[in-house]
């Protein structure tokens, strides 16, 4: 029985609250940085994928396939260990954020492309006929229609970023998983409680992302609903 208590000893969590919270903050910071970067990477790649220029479309497709066909961990090692020999030295945090964003961006590109293609061609064509510029038509007509379609899949990508940000612990970024790893490395006392706390933290973050997205989705489709009820 005392073994079971040692396994779930809550004091290990309570005594380490400070560094655990710091780690949680680092996970959120890393995820936020990666989400922002991934939006840029995914948007650019997605538009390139639907480009009418053959080399651009083909090049971006090859890039997406290569990124999606190789492990994130290997991509992170490439950035962290490989790029210094190109004269580009990245901190562990930057390497992890860029690797996460680039990997997610490759998946996002496909979502963006699918959503853009699902908008009827007549929509941008009408906008152009009314005298809107190419990019204005894209931004004002195509994007508002494509975004609600892409949203559920994009939220899945955000949740994935939070979960895969744990890989940063491998290059010793002091985020939540790394902090727990270090505490457990010193002593197995409270092992169960520490991992339980870690799991609850990730579940809370991913559930919050899903909850926020439901609100955003409702807001985005509010015009569509009004028409549907008319």
């Amino acid at each position: 029985m005392s073994d079971l208590f040692a396994f779930f000893d809550p004091m290990q969590v309570i005594d380490n609250t400070g560094i655990l919270l710091k780690g949680a903050g680092m996970t959120l910071l890393l995820s936020a940085a990666a989400v922002g970067l991934a939006a840029v990477v995914g948007g650019v790649l997605g538009v390139m994928r639907s480009s009418s220029s053959r080399p651009v479309a083909w090049g971006s497709r090859a890039y997406v396939e290569i990124i999606r066909g190789t492990p994130l961990l290997v991509q992170m090692y490439m950035l962290y260990y490989g790029f210094p020999s190109l004269g580009i030295t990245l901190s562990a945090f930057t390497a992890a954020a860029v690797a996460l964003a680039n990997n997610t961006g490759a998946y996002t590109a496909e979502i963006v492309r699918g959503a853009v293609q699902s908008v009827e061609r007549s929509q941008p064509e009408s906008a152009r006929a009314l005298g809107m510029g190419h990019w204005t038509a894209y931004w004002r007509v195509v994007a508002p229609q494509a975004l609600p379609i892409a949203l559920p899949a994009l939220v899945g990508e955000v949740v994935d970023i939070v979960k895969w940000s744990a890989l940063a612990s491998v290059v010793v970024v002091p985020e939540a998983t790394q902090v727990v790893y270090q505490i457990v490395g010193r002593s197995y006392r409270g092992f169960g409680s520490l991992f339980l706390a870690l799991a609850v933290f990730y579940l809370l973050v991913t559930a919050s992302v899903a909850a926020v997205s439901r609100r955003v989705e409702r807001r985005m489709t509010r015009y569509r609903l009004r028409v549907a009820h008319a």
Partner: protein, 220 residues
């Protein structure tokens, strides 16, 4: 300008290729665990008893909602924390299998609920025994639904097997680290490692496209 020197890495290519076989074996073993876990959990979600369904849902939510690396570390440290001796290889395969099993559970559930009830009724009313209905009607139709998402999960599982390097399982990524420190050629090493992963995951993806085309052939 950067000059790539592949010679030292190519000299270690045999090591990397041997290690990639270990990765493939881990991938297949993990997929077997994932299929069992996923199928059992999907079947449990169909049972009328509430407690059974809740257990299945809890498993899916918990394993899908937390990072795979956390699960790998948990299962790696768990035996030691409990004072038992289990190899990292085994705990790694189990962790991979349970994580991807939670995704496969949802795929299987879709397949079970996806085959039209009318198909089963029609087969039964034509006098087909229950077992034959399963093998001849339900399974072939369910297969065409699940094959491509399952291949997607296998490709993800295979790539995620690289995470077992963190707990010291000898596979492609760990061997890559070893080759990198010995050759001082990080870019060349990781390019070679990435290329090997790419080849195997492409085989999985295109193999499934081929398989799906063959399976769907009989469809109207």
């Amino acid at each position: 300008m950067l000059e790539l020197h592949f010679a030292p890495v190519l000299a270690s290519l045999d090591q990397l290729l041997w290690a990639s076989i270990a990765s493939v074996v881990i991938g297949i073993a993990g997929m077997v665990v994932a299929m069992v876990a996923g199928t059992v959990s999907a079947l449990m979600s169909q049972v009328p008893a509430r407690a059974v369904r809740t257990t299945a849902n809890l498993y899916v939510d918990l394993f899908r909602g937390t990072p795979i690396l956390v699960q790998i570390l948990f299962f790696y440290f768990l035996p030691a924390a409990l004072g038992v001796d289990v190899s990292a290889y085994v705990t790694g395969v189990v962790a991979l299998g349970l994580y991807y099993g939670s995704y496969i559970s949802e795929i299987m559930r879709g397949a079970i609920e996806g085959v039209a009830v009318g198909q089963v009724d029609a087969a039964r009313s034509l006098g087909m025994p229950k077992v034959m209905t399963f093998w001849r009607v339900q399974l072939p139709q369910a297969m065409t639904i699940v094959i491509s998402p399952l291949a997607g999960q296998f490709s993800r599982l295979f790539k995620a097997s690289s995470l077992l390097s963190v707990i010291g399982v000898s596979e492609l990524t760990l061997r890559g680290q070893y080759v990198m420190t010995r050759t001082y050629a990080p870019i060349e090493t990781w390019l070679a490692v990435a290329a090997i992963y790419f080849v195997f995951s492409s085989i999985a993806v295109y193999g499934s496209v081929w398989l799906e085309a063959r399976l769907v052939r009989g469809r109207l």
